[in-house]
């Protein structure tokens, strides 16, 4: 275990009705977040390898936790996303080192396949900072019904020398989607776009 994890938070959002209309089956999103110690807090480090390794570890851990929270087989996951909030003694780039080089591969293993880019967001912030984790279809980025986001906020994190890392998954698109575009049953799922 490379990451020094202080806590893990998992949340599930299940929408059963929207504007008085039933959503059947309910749409469900899960987000799993870890509060980790930032090994580079307070100093400039040129080589961010340590955070890249932690990102790889968290991609698997948080991906599995989020899928488990929905209680479905990995192949049933339809969309995903990732995000990080760096505490004030860290650097914006620390979020990038966690999220981009290696987090994606174990996350894709946790959801089976995943031909599409994992959409992401990052920011710096203090205790209780919220972040919107963007969501996109895992095999075809242009599926319009699955463009979405889920907000997560941990009241006591990130402390100055910590980073919040979050992974989100869904087993559905938005509730009552009706703005057209590419539909999920039309995708090829090969190039990650359509």
């Amino acid at each position: 275990m490379k990451a020094e994890i202080r806590k893990i938070v998992v949340a599930v959002e299940e929408t059963r009705s929207e504007m008085g209309k039933r959503v059947n089956p309910p749409t469900r999103k899960a987000v799993a977040a870890a509060v980790i110690k930032n090994p580079f807090a307070g100093r400039y480090a040129e080589d961010l390898e340590e955070l890249m390794a932690i990102g790889e570890e968290l991609g698997g851990l948080l991906g599995e936790r989020a899928v488990a929270a929905l209680g479905v087989a990995p192949g049933r996951i339809e969309s995903y996303g990732k995000a990080a909030i760096v505490g004030e003694k860290g650097e914006w780039e620390h979020a990038a080192a966690l999220l981009h080089p290696r987090l994606g591969k174990p996350l894709r293993a946790a959801v089976e396949k995943g031909a599409a880019l994992v959409p992401s967001a990052k920011k710096m912030g203090g205790l209780g900072t919220a972040i919107d984790v963007p969501l996109g279809h895992k095999d075809a980025a242009f599926v319009r019904s699955h463009f979405d986001a889920i907000e997560i906020r941990i009241p006591d994190a990130p402390r100055a020398d910590e980073i919040v890392v979050a992974v989100a998954v869904t087993d559905s698109g938005r509730p009552l989607p009706r703005v057209g575009g590419l539909q999920k049953h039309e995708i090829k799922g090969e190039d990650g776009l359509r």
């Binding site: 780039e93 999220l99 981009h100 080089p101 959409p119 992401s120 990052k122 986001a149 989607p177 776009l193």
Partner: protein, 168 residues
């Protein structure tokens, strides 16, 4: 110097308060606003569309609206920026939510011609203190002029892209 800019508009949500099955006509109606906002962004960043390297979009729907109303911004927000920037190739990443007056939104950012350019994965938090009211929506566009500050997480570089498929 790295510059980032956001333009937000607060618009009336005609579908607030009731379920309306066919909301598609509004998508086309938003096109002129999208173009105007994209042009304003280019002006804010110095006036040269070629200086823009990253973009993103988002929407915050007021309390009487539906999450789906935010999805109306997908086509007008995205296509307007791609057009104003001279046929940018990459998908425009996005976020949306339903929120109260003063709600904040993290708008994701990626490279305009190749989504996988790692140095340009970014985000910008936006919001307006007195919006969206119940029957309003905040729509947002964001552009940047370059990579993250001190980008050093490796991956595909902007100098290496082919710029054909929008990915690499």
């Amino acid at each position: 110097m790295h510059k980032r800019a956001a333009v937000l508009a607060v618009i009336h949500n005609p579908f607030a308060g009731k379920y309306v099955a066919d909301i598609m006509p509004m998508m086309e109606a938003l096109n002129p606003l999208g173009v105007k906002m994209a042009e304003r962004l280019v002006t804010l960043l110095g006036g040269d569309p070629k200086a823009v390297e990253g973009y993103g979009k988002g929407a915050i729907v007021g309390a009487a609206g539906e999450l789906e109303h935010g999805a109306l911004w997908h086509a007008p927000g995205g296509y307007s920026m791609r057009k104003v920037l001279g046929d940018a190739k990459a998908i425009v990443s996005s976020t949306k939510k339903v929120g109260p007056v003063g709600a904040r939104l993290d708008v994701p950012i990626t490279h305009i011609n190749a989504s996988y350019v790692r140095s340009h994965f970014d985000a910008m938090e936006v919001g307006i203190a007195d919006a969206p009211r119940d029957h309003e929506m905040v729509v947002a566009l964001v552009m940047t002029t370059g990579p993250r500050i001190h980008a050093r997480a490796g991956g595909l570089k902007a100098s290496e892209i082919k710029g054909e498929d929008g990915l690499r």
